[in-house]
Symmetry: C2
Subunit: 458 residues, 2 copies
């Protein structure tokens, strides 16, 4: 008996060693293919430089749908299709104008309307401005807010190593600021850009009026970090100064758009679905190369790499390019709705939406057993400098997706530079490094391969 | 007896846990200080934007010596001094000119003279050009080389994850190419830039004629990767085309320059010296922000962080800003010479000379025992995403340094983008991210702290 246990143990160990060796070789091929024979960089070049900013409902967003669909059609997938989805359409209008009006001096400052904001009156809005550092400050100030513009100026915390944590600690000012300030009688809000460095780019992003009545909607805009510092300093010297801004943005009726989907049918378990994805829409100020052109082309590349390697996944592999992550999340909602009504069983959803920088690991939403299994693959990833396997948010577009035993994951690139570009004028193709982009695609492909081989723990 | 062993074991474990906790808190303070209260970024701003390129022997190199010395003098160190060193002085002269001369068509291409190269004849050099992929190819071609320009066109290998490995696999073409081609009667060499991406920047760098007679020195220059591709393609269509280039660089007599040294005397073991450093000289095409302005200011920051924290090192801590790493290594030589003649005992030498990108770990030159000890600190570094502790090259300036039980280390930043900038026109301040630079400084400081606390294994 003892001998047979020993034999089983030895056999089992040899088998594991062999599997580990085989997987190591497969990952080697994946990374090699990504670094020498991938298309993601040229796809992104087209998306960014030939199409450009792709805000939901825009002509560019539509062009991006048809371009990525046509590119997926060249890869020899089993099917490529569109999922119809109604999306909000917000347009920025004319370039915004803003001044600090300090007695007789007018200092021009760079601002941009936040997504979903209403316009100012045609000739702009001039009012006293009051600085706060949080939504909680509003209640403290109470009546002092009435008739004023509220200036939310809490900076991102530089102490966090993960910059997304600092973003999370600040973004309520942008998302809820106007709604909350309006309740205290503010006439507008100006929000310090979510940016860790001091520069001259205002960073847009979505905001929401929640359920306050339309009559109480007030215009809201982001101001560059340099200008926020200047405004704060000038306000300290002259608390009665005024601020002027003019923007002509508006919300139009919803329009029809699409998620783009490409699929390789699983050879053994076609009923199990693995999704890789990013979002096809972007903000309008730049071409959205990092947010989220990178995630889109990396996700497409996962299927491309498997095709180039001749690897046939056992489970169905789907790339989904979600529409409208930035200002509505309608694409993600629609995908989940259809998955549910079609009784689909997802085992993996992997999103890339944190920029195209050097990959460091994955942020995982799954149970303990799957977390342990995936963390156990660390040594396989080590040669590629992938080292960070943590529990945390995976991705906005897959947030609603549910399935029994679903592993959700987000690709985790180096985050130090991300908020230099996020939602700003400089999120352009030249900020992308080809190799970093390719390494991210290879890292995603490797996780998909391992999940495909070993499934999820049930 | 058993009980006392048990007690000793428990005490020892508690002590280790306490020490680990204390160290964890110290590292937390180090990183916090770097991210919120450091000077490295503004020092680099001055070095790059107020001084600029700092090639050995130039006025700018001298300015950099006096600027960094004066800045170190503000930090309250125990002494700040200069080490005299004679350095080579090579000057580029007028901007280089080059053409592919294909029948009657002249195509201008971007080149730059390699450091140490001789000039072409005054009116330039026109000759047939022959492409090779390695120095070994020269012997194969033999007589066919005579009277021609040799075009070394082996690209950096994109498959390596660590880009320095690809650099190492290519740089012989630049360093030895002219010397070797001259032996076969070549009249000049053109070398594909050491750059992983395709762009229009020629990358300079040092070359050596070794011990061939002066009369056999031939002019040598680097060509941008895009132009190398074009030249290769054009040569395939017309192998008899000619290449023209003109450069007026020259080697002048050696001049006096300096290493800059700042020191905090050890409180317990002043006789043990820990060195942190980078090189103050840079190539002349840009301002050398990554190579190696970043390493210079990060090294200065190590002492600054300790001062700000009120941490007094037990061993002597020295920052050394080496002169002439790029084209001679005279500063590193001089430092070792003086260390030896002063019978100094170095326990640590840590160099930062791989760019100012997000730090990933250390490349270590030390014995097994020290490697094991330092690798054992990995968990302390984990919160800061420092994960890569490998054996390998530490730094050029500390290459010659020897001492009993010396640990040599190189800071290992993310290497993907490094060769986009290395020795080229675009190695400028805007390519630096403040947080990445600061995280590198904190990572260096943390290693110095741990070595200072626990010494090196003897």
């Amino acid at each position: 008996m003892k001998k047979s246990i020993m034999l089983a143990f030895v056999l089992c160990n040899s088998f594991l060693a062999l599997a580990q060796k085989k997987d190591g070789l497969v990952l080697q091929t994946i990374y090699k293919t990504a670094l020498t024979n991938s298309q993601c960089y040229s796809w992104l070049d087209y998306l960014s430089n030939q199409i450009g900013g792709r805000l939901s409902g825009s002509t560019n967003a539509e062009k991006a749908v048809f371009y990525t669909k046509s590119q997926l059609e060249t890869l020899g997938l089993d099917r490529v299709f569109l999922q119809e989805v109604m999306v909000p359409k917000w347009v920025r209008g004319d370039k915004e104008v803003a001044y600090i009006v300090n007695n007789k001096t007018k200092i021009a400052v760079p601002i941009c309307a936040l997504g979903g904001s209403v316009a100012t009156p045609k000739n702009g809005l001039l009012a006293p401005i009051i600085e706060v550092h949080s939504i909680a400050d509003l209640a403290q100030l109470g009546d002092k807010i009435k008739g004023k513009i509220v200036f939310f100026n809490r900076p991102m915390d530089p102490e966090n190593i993960e910059t997304f944590k600092s973003y999370g600690g600040c973004v309520d000012q942008r998302f809820d600021g106007a709604k909350e300030a309006s309740k205290w009688g503010a006439v507008g809000t100006i929000v310090r850009s979510m940016n860790l460095r001091l520069d001259d780019f205002p960073h847009t992003g979505v905001q929401s009026y929640g359920d306050i009545p339309k009559s109480q909607y007030i215009p809201t805009a982001a101001i560059s970090t340099n200008a926020a510092e200047l405004l704060s300093k000038t306000l300290k010297k002259n608390p009665t100064l005024k601020f002027y801004f003019k923007q002509s943005c508006q919300q139009l009726p919803d329009v029809l758009s699409y998620n783009v989907v490409g699929e390789i049918k699983g050879s053994t378990h076609p009923e199990n679905i693995m999704v890789v994805g990013g979002h096809l829409d972007s903000w309008d100020l730049a071409d959205g190369s990092h947010d989220d052109g990178a995630g889109v082309v990396q996700s497409m590349e996962v299927l491309n790499i498997f095709k180039k390697m001749g690897y046939k996944p056992q489970n169905t592999l789907r790339v989904v390019l979600f529409m409208n992550e930035e200002n509505g999340g309608k694409g993600g909602e629609k995908y989940q709705e259809l998955a549910q009504s079609n009784h689909e069983n997802h085992i993996l959803a992997l999103e890339s939406d944190s920029g195209g920088f050097s990959p460091r690991g994955f942020s995982l939403e799954c149970d303990e057993a799957n977390f342990a299994t995936i963390s156990g693959w660390k040594t396989l990833f080590e040669p590629y400098l992938i080292h960070s396997f943590v529990k945390g948010h995976s991705g906005s577009d897959i947030e609603l997706l549910t399935s029994k035993n679903l592993v959700k994951a987000g690709l985790k690139p180096d985050s130090q530079r991300y908020f230099d570009y996020h939602h700003a004028l400089n999120d352009t193709f030249d900020a992308i490094n080809k190799r970093e982009l390719e390494l991210g695609a290879a890292t995603m492909t490797s996780l998909v391969y391992l999940i495909d081989q070993y499934g999820v723990v049930k």
